[in-house]
Symmetry: C2
Subunit: 341 residues, 2 copies
DNA sequence: CTGTTAGCGCTTTCAG
DNA sequence: CTGAAAGCGCTAACAG
């Protein structure tokens, strides 16, 4: 049987209370007694039973997620992931709330932060917007002992504790690597983004162009089209592009609104063999892959991101450190052949 | 506060013991009482505190992993993953043992199974070998109430409870999809396997050839070379191949022993721009990717596989079902740009 | 068939 | 500074 606090107390000749004080390094123990207990702990190889500790403590963790209210499949996945984790976490004494925030609106995000902070949660997770007012309120939360974690889109230079999302520069480079090979290292590629003001989109583009320049200097990139993640607008822009550039060798869709792109591609027979790379595995991109309309989809797993955010906030609340490398979110590559399910 | 067993007992006007009997549907409760308690449970929205239950139960789970003793990096990863999970699981009342088995030797696997079974564990996880003697001993274990899970390589037609590994046919198809695009849909590709008697290798090859035939009929596949997963042998064979076929357009290494392949490629200047796809992200393949010697690496995450195996064995021990889709092991694709870390 | 009671391993008053 | 004792939510003898 594994040694327990009782064993420590017995072997060290002290009471349970003293053992507990040492274990949780609370004050009120003579240095000598403390040393004795600590020595005993390592000698008998004690490891704390966290479940029992939590049971006794009745510790309850409370976390809030702030999610943009944009209507796109990836954010739907994110919301579902939060609900799922919330349901599962109840049995681990973790309570998770979710608030909607107006998309791309720093003021709304700040307001939501304030509301969330009023409830004095242990942590807040949010899809950040790159804005100084947001940075300021993050600092406030931090000062109030609330751990802030960014999800999907980061807020560099702020006091957020962690970023649970992919490296978007690397994602852009990955897209370039694939594109360069798919089109045989030469030609002209088009790029459709949501908005270059969105940090993640900007970084993907930068990575894409950098890697192409480096590894495939024979490939030219057309000026970026901004589709605002809006299917209708993306469709319109894509149609224009496909007609204007019949010589197009490839297309990189680094934002959302792929429903529109798919329509445009389907309508354009000449686009049948155009290599297309997009982001996020949703119903739309999944179908496009199966159909052969898209060649590859880069993905960030919303479930992983949410779970990682919760783990980090919990660790922070417990005063523990997390191994950053372990929390790194991978850039998944999906072809029609390795789609999950 | 969340309702507890005490609340149920009080509201239903019964004792704790009766509540417990109903919760764990143990016999000895009148149908009427049972119904009353069950009604109360849903009415007050009770959810069991698993941690407390396990604490009271002092339930200890014991699982055994049987791992081949071959000397290759992927199996090293697998062993490390088992040790890691073993260390972590101790605090969850899970005890994990590991035994070495002679590689590719059914008799040794059967013997190890028997030894493991003697300890009456709750579950056994093994890298299966496709053999009827193995099937027979799996059936024995099953009859003895020990859940058997296959890892990495499956044993179809046996009574194993679950397979924690990738779909190797799909992996082969994925390799073909990439290869076909990388080489522009035409040319001749070479394939190096470990042994086609290994189920996973055979399936990868089948998937690869099938997808090439379907999607890239212009690509020819040379007769498979068997390198026995041995770096020296792989190197020798690869050198011969590279010299004999200077017209080679691509190379698919679907087994292990990639250290040898890398040497051969490095020695052959003409191979500098030969698209190469291999399996398992190890120190060797990782370096080859960075260097541009390999173009893509398909990977199965040993950590995921081991953790999934443990989850399934535990669920089985608890008489719970697992959602197979949730336990599906993904085929990761890595380029130099999206390598983790 | 049902209830009482004593824990599981840990924390937390409250005395001393 | 230290200890005794009660209790977290659940389970498991053992009586009735």
């Amino acid at each position: 049987m594994r040694p327990t606090v009782h064993d420590i107390a017995e072997k060290a000749g002290v009471s349970l209370a003293t053992v507990d004080r040492v274990l949780n390094n609370r004050p009120g123990v003579r240095a000598k007694t403390r040393a004795l207990v600590e020595e005993t702990i390592v000698r008998i190889g004690y490891v704390r039973d966290v479940a029992a500790a939590n049971l006794a403590r009745k510790r309850l963790y409370r976390f809030e997620f702030l999610i943009p209210n944009s209507d796109n499949s990836f954010l739907d996945q994110l919301r579902v992931a939060v609900s799922d984790v919330a349901a599962l976490s109840r049995i681990e004494r973790i309570e998770i709330g979710m608030r909607e925030v107006a998309a791309f609106d720093p003021a709304s995000l700040v307001a939501a932060m304030r509301e969330a902070m009023a409830g004095e949660p242990d942590g807040i997770a949010m899809v950040a917007i790159d804005d100084d007012a947001v940075r300021a309120v993050v600092a406030e939360a931090n000062a109030a002992g609330i751990a802030v974690v960014t999800v999907v889109s980061d807020l560099p230079g702020s006091e957020r504790v962690h970023y649970a999302g992919i490296d978007n520069l690397a994602a852009g480079r990955t897209a370039a690597s694939l594109m360069g090979r798919f089109i045989g290292g030469r030609g002209t590629v088009g790029v459709i983004a949501g908005s270059l003001n969105a940090r993640d989109h900007g970084e993907r583009l930068a990575g894409f162009e950098e890697a192409l320049r480096r590894d495939f200097p024979g490939v030219a990139v057309l000026p970026v089209i901004e589709g605002r993640d809006d299917p209708k607008r993306v469709e319109r822009e894509a149609v224009v592009l496909l007609n204007a550039r019949p010589d197009l060798s490839g297309l990189y869709s680094l934002g959302a609104g792929n429903r529109g792109l798919v329509k445009a591609l389907r309508a354009n027979a000449a686009a049948r063999h155009l290599p297309v790379i997009a982001h996020e595995l949703t119903a739309t991109t999944r179908a496009a892959l199966s159909e052969g309309l898209f060649d590859a989809v880069l993905n960030q797993d919303a479930g992983h991101e949410v779970r990682s955010a919760v783990r980090v906030m919990k660790a922070h609340a417990d005063g523990l450190h997390t191994v950053d490398a372990q929390e790194r979110i991978r850039i998944d590559i999906f072809l029609k052949d390795n789609m999950p399910q």
